[in-house]
């Protein structure tokens, strides 16, 4: 345990918690940082190839493992979406896509993208890589549990993928898995498929809990000296709050999975009422299908924010770094993240306005849902106010951020339609809903993921991705995705219902055929455009420019490691000591246009810092 202050001046640590008096004069007090509360952790260093790259305990490697596994599932999800769009745009063209297959694609695409791709990527991938680096820790606090977390996730993915190969195929119950149809004949994969899905989800929750505890406790307990909560980058705030949500929300998914497994295997009736099937009364009775929906959405709605909050955090940091300006209204941003997180537990039944639940719930859930729009809107204002009077680098990273703002605002506004109970009535279960949630929690977070990849690639791989290819990648993806989902809302207005295998014979679809074909074509292009990124990465790794240290001139700690890419232990011999928030860009009086979090006040005494 080292205490920089003690070493420097022999001055004994004092109990005073805050420092006042910024600005003028250099006094020995001004660099004071509280001593560390916890001793530094002992790191377990890998002794073999397997310990280093397979059963690794280094959060950075685990992060990359999570990332790659999640991307693999994402590719599967993408291919499934292609097959769906093929059927929807050009029914019958691919004869092998039967209705059974189509519903299996729909289900697996949804579940994969939401849980196994986005959640795992943001929290398992970015969370693992960035949390210790950004808060100035050597690793997660429980590295061994962290390793188990990834492998549990890996097994969950393996079980999920295995369901493609069992008799009856994967479940085709829709990603919401609404009983009773989920476990009854008439739904594809009602035997093995649904069982493997439920087992896989349970494993995911168990694995995720291991990781989640790590993220939370590392952020609460292992921050370096001077890294107060209100000096944390918003990325960390977003991931932290999302993890807390996940810890509270995933148990609801776990219990509903277990109950449904029991309904399926033991013939219990948690969710199963009296049912008449092919003239026979089944041996179920007394259960409630709506109970499942409450449990599912008690998980499912926070889940939206489990994906969105890390995206909010990351994009805030990317915008600030590349606009060379402090994030506007940091404290408001933090409280908005926390507030959205808390409110997200009181809005779940807005997915159920027309589910047959007591309709009086509608008043309550519409109100809470629209209240949540306020902190969300504040975040949007603060992003664009960060751009305002900035010095904006229009590079690939910034383009993805701008694309995020456009798609997120678009998807957020359509959320106000759907949240507003009676407006939801005509639009629910139509393509308006499909367009809305893809825009707001598919495309918008994806924009952030892509921005984050271009931003942190130099840190992870030590090389700069090609800007020109990056811009091509951005514009095809952004324009393509926008032209998929923006017009799709209008199919919903016509009344075209979602989850229809085929309806070109319906009067509601006569005018929509051309639009549907256009959407499908755009979907093929956008999917294929992701190869540009793959090509860019391959090319960069082979011939790319070596990244200098801190190429973006950012302030946060991950760019101030002893080596690039950072080695195990992250910060060399001494942990960094933090003196300021990570958003001191273009501070009046400073020579450079950025002040690292580690810059001590005495080193930059002539600056006029407003907040330290």
């Amino acid at each position: 345990m080292s205490d920089e202050y003690e070493n420097k001046s022999g001055y004994q640590a004092q109990s005073s918690e805050t420092m006042t008096g910024t600005g003028s004069g250099v006094s020995p007090d001004m660099d004071y940082v509280r001593p560390a509360e916890n001793p530094e952790q002992d790191l377990y260093h890998a002794h073999s190839f397997i310990e280093k790259w397979v059963f690794c305990q280094d959060a950075k490697v685990i992060g990359v493992q999570y990332f790659l596994t999640a991307v693999f599932t994402g590719v599967v999800g993408l291919i499934l979406s292609w097959l769906m769009r093929l059927q929807l745009g050009f029914p019958g063209l691919a004869g092998f896509i039967t209705a059974e297959h189509y519903y299996q694609f729909v289900t697996m695409h949804g579940m994969i993208m939401v849980v196994y791709f986005l959640t795992a990527l943001f929290l398992g991938g970015f969370g693992n890589y960035l949390i210790p680096l950004m808060v100035g820790a050597r690793d997660m606090v429980f590295p061994y549990v962290n390793m188990l977390s990834f492998w549990m996730f890996f097994v969950a993915v393996a079980v999920l993928m295995a369901s493609f190969f069992v008799p009856g195929g994967p479940t085709g119950a829709g990603w919401t898995l609404y009983p009773p149809q989920t476990i009854l004949e008439g739904t594809p994969g009602h035997g093995w498929g649904i069982l493997l899905m439920l087992i896989s989800l349970s494993l995911f929750v168990i694995g995720f809990t291991m990781g989640g505890l790590n993220y939370m406790i590392t952020i609460l307990q292992a921050r370096t000296r001077g890294m107060t909560l209100m000096r944390m980058p918003l990325t960390v705030w977003g991931i932290f709050t999302a993890t807390v949500l996940a810890m509270l929300a995933f148990p609801a998914l776990l219990v509903s999975s277990i109950m449904m497994t029991l309904d399926k295997l033991l013939g219990t009736s948690f969710f199963m009422p009296t049912i008449l099937k092919a003239g026979e009364v089944l041996e179920y009775g007394g259960g409630s299908p709506i109970l499942f929906q409450h449990l599912f959405w008690f998980f499912g709605h926070p889940e939206v924010y489990i994906v969105a909050l890390p995206a909010f955090g990351i994009v805030s940091d990317l915008i600030s770094v590349h606009a060379r300006k402090n994030i506007f209204g940091y404290r408001m941003m933090v409280w908005a993240i926390v507030g959205i997180g808390a409110l997200s537990f009181f809005v779940w039944a807005h997915h159920m306005y027309v589910s047959g639940m007591n309709p009086w719930f509608g008043f309550f859930f519409a109100s809470t849902t629209l209240i949540i729009a306020v902190p969300t809107a504040m975040k949007v204002y603060n992003w664009i106010l960060t751009l305002w009077r900035g010095n904006i680098r229009i590079n690939t990273v910034m383009l993805w951020c701008l694309g995020f703002i456009v798609t997120f605002v678009n998807g957020g506004i359509t959320g106000i339609f759907l949240g507003n109970v009676s407006v939801d009535v005509p639009l629910s279960d139509t393509y308006f809903v499909v367009a809305h949630f893809h825009m707001v929690m598919g495309i918008a977070p994806l924009m952030v993921i892509m921005g984050a990849i271009y931003h942190w690639f130099p840190l992870v791989a030590g090389k700069m991705l090609d800007e020109k290819l990056g811009k091509w990648h951005f514009w095809t993806t952004f324009l393509g995705a926008y032209s998929i989902y923006f017009p799709m809302h209008y199919l919903g207005f016509i009344g075209v219902p979602r989850r229809y295998y085929e309806m070109y014979d319906s009067p509601y679809m006569t005018s929509g055929v051309g639009l549907n074909e256009f959407i499908s074509t755009a979907a093929f292009i956008v999917g294929a455009a992701q190869l540009i990124l793959v090509f860019n990465i391959v090319k960069t790794m082979k011939t790319g420019k070596k990244a200098e240290k801190n190429p973006w001139k950012a302030n946060s700690l991950e760019w101030y490691t002893s080596t690039v890419p950072p080695e195990h232990g992250n910060f060399g011999e001494r942990l960094p000591v933090v003196h300021r928030w990570p958003y001191d860009y273009n501070v009046p009086g400073a020579e450079e246009d950025y002040l690292p979090q580690t810059a001590a006040p005495s080193e930059v005494a002539h600056t006029e810092v407003e907040k330290t």
């Binding site: 085709g172 009296t274 940091y330 309709p359 751009l387 229009i394 605002v409 199919l491 295998y501 273009n586």
Partner: protein, 291 residues
């Protein structure tokens, strides 16, 4: 620069698309004009916010693109601005929520004079039941359902006898008469949805759910199942015809009641018995002959 122009085109394109779209909602055929109006209002307010935010972003891209040596403003917080924005947003949201809740209040409170229509759903089809002269539907039970009693009506319930049964995916409704749709399902979730009526609700096995509307345009409409119900979901469609009172009453008088069905079945049974008896006689004769 190029980036700003493309983003600007995306915003302008979105607005133009909305104005000139050939794809918009179907002509409304029910009393729920208020839903359409709230959507229009939300479009104006929400669309305005979308355009304003995006245009401001585009402006920043044009105006504050990177220039070597330029100083960005250093102003971590602006309490006043944040306060104004918070209150303005809250106000806007409240203005949208209010009409939404008012219409929802109408949606959940069914007018007293609404005619009840029992919509029964299964994998994969619909059938309908209307009250008879007593104006009341008889009670039902899933376990009662069989070939003789396709709606599962409680035979002891006097209100059930005169119920009018429509064993078809198609139903007729009377124009300008409020209808209370009572939904029931015998197996999984379904949802009886006609886009022109704007309204919908899930049918949930085990309970009876409801919603109401008042059709106000004579014509034929397609009925869609709007809640995923298994592999036949996309084919689970029906029809509804809204008719003038005169036509509707004519149609109604041609429909069979539960009483008619029972009578028909009893007659059938009686004839069956007779048939069996005759057969037995013939058989007996044959046996007799052989002996």
């Amino acid at each position: 620069m190029h980036a700003g122009i493309i983003f600007l085109l995306v915003i302008v394109g979105s607005v133009l698309f909305h104005i000139f779209t050939p794809w918009y909602w179907t002509d409304i055929a029910s009393n729920w004009q208020g839903m359409d109006d709230t959507i229009t209002l939300t479009f104006w307010v929400g669309g305005g916010v979308f355009v304003a935010v995006c245009l401001f972003m585009v402006y920043c891209v044009f105006r504050y693109s990177y220039k070597e040596g330029r100083k960005a403003e250093y102003k971590p917080e602006d309490k006043k601005l944040e306060k104004i924005l918070t209150w303005a947003t809250t106000l806007g949201v409240a203005a949208l929520l209010a009409p939404g809740l008012i219409i929802w209040n109408q949606y959940v409170n069914v007018p007293k004079n609404a005619i009840e229509v029992d919509v029964m759903a299964w994998q994969w089809g619909w059938q309908y039941r209307l009250p008879g002269e007593d104006g009341k539907l008889g009670t039902t039970k899933v376990t009662n359902i069989n070939d003789e009693n396709p709606f599962g009506i409680n035979v002891d319930d006097p209100f059930g006898r005169d119920d009018i049964l429509v064993q078809s995916d198609f139903i007729n409704l009377e124009n300008n008469k409020p209808v209370k749709i009572l939904l029931r399902s015998v197996d999984v979730l379904h949802n009886w949805y006609v886009p022109q009526f704007r309204s919908k609700m899930d049918a949930v096995p085990g309970i009876v759910t409801y919603y109401w509307f008042e059709p106000n345009k004579v014509g034929e409409y397609e009925v869609l199942c709007a809640e995923y119900c298994g592999v036949g979901h996309y084919a689970m469609r029906g029809g509804v015809e809204v008719q003038s009172t005169e036509d509707y009453n004519k149609w109604l008088s041609e429909q069979e009641t539960f009483q008619d069905l029972i009578a028909k079945q009893q007659k059938l049974e009686f004839e069956n018995k007779k048939l069996v008896k005759n057969n037995n006689l013939i058989l007996n004769k044959d046996i007799y002959k052989e002996e």
